[in-house]
């Protein structure tokens, strides 16, 4: 008989206790979602209006201060929201010892991708 079966049902339900945490991640996911509502709407309309206009037009558009600003905000909100969302998905389905390495890798990946996007936007804007 394993030790897990000897533990009382209440002991098992209590587990490691409450983390007294979680409201923050939940709230940030919501705030980033609110930010993404106008930002993704803007991006969709902008792409739609600029498809097939050629490289020079795209660069000119990205060089506009308003575009640089909104694209920077979009990238930050997007990858922040993605990281928080994927964290929930991974916690839901991954129950083995790889969970925490996967979480760490995912968060670092999101930061790296977000920074790569920001650097690209700034390079275009400042070139």
């Amino acid at each position: 008989m394993s030790s897990a079966r000897m533990r009382s049902p209440l002991g098992r339900a209590l587990g490691l206790g409450s983390a007294r945490d979680g409201v923050d991640a939940w709230w940030r996911e919501r705030v980033s979602a609110v930010a993404l509502v106008p930002l993704t709407a803007w991006l969709t309309v902008s792409i739609l209006m600029r498809a097939d206009k050629g490289y020079a037009a795209v660069v000119a558009w990205l060089k506009l201060p308003i575009t640089t600003t909104l694209m920077t905000l979009l990238l930050i909100a997007l990858f922040y929201h993605t990281a928080l969302g994927l964290q929930v998905v991974i916690e839901d389905y991954v129950h083995s010892r790889i969970k925490i390495p996967v979480l760490v890798g995912m968060h670092l990946g999101c930061v790296a991708l977000g920074v790569a996007g920001l650097v690209a936007v700034l390079k275009i804007a400042l070139a």
């Binding site: 969709t44 490289y55 660069v59 990205l62 994927l86 991708l113 650097v119 275009i124």
Partner: protein, 135 residues
């Protein structure tokens, strides 16, 4: 006694038998579209890096977007974006404490389905007009 408790009790089936309902189907849909949009976010970064790298890199990315595979990928992304967008707004309304009657849950659910299909269609119609295919 021990011979019984040694054998793990069977787990009754869950997802294998539970009826899909608008509630659970839209929830898993929101999740799948969200994960897909994570991949499209990578695509956005690739596009931005290509623009920053110069006309040749941009042309290569643009060639892919213009290919049939690229078009299908872009269409899927458009639908995922609107689906997650509308579903996300529905979730924000819930988080604010509204829309929890079953009638409201189903009305908002079907609205999300209709709106995401409608917005995707609208995007392609407007895109076609702007590209000069329309009237």
């Amino acid at each position: 006694m021990s011979s019984q408790s040694d054998r793990q009790r069977p787990l009754s089936p869950n997802i294998q038998i539970y009826r899909p309902q608008l509630t659970s189907v839209l929830s898993i849909g929101n999740r799948i579209s969200g994960i897909a949009l994570g991949a499209y976010a990578v695509g956005l970064v690739i596009l931005l890096v290509a623009v920053a790298s110069g006309p040749d890199a941009y042309a290569a990315v643009y060639k892919f977007i213009g290919s049939w595979v690229g078009r299908i990928v872009l269409f899927g992304g458009t639908f995922c974006l609107f689906f997650h967008f509308c579903g996300g707004i529905r979730h924000l309304v819930w988080d604010a404490g509204y829309g929890f009657s079953l009638r409201a849950i189903y009305l908002s659910g079907w609205t999300v389905v209709a709106a995401s299909i409608g917005l995707t269609a609208l995007t392609y119609v407007v895109g076609a007009i702007l590209a000069g295919y329309g009237p």
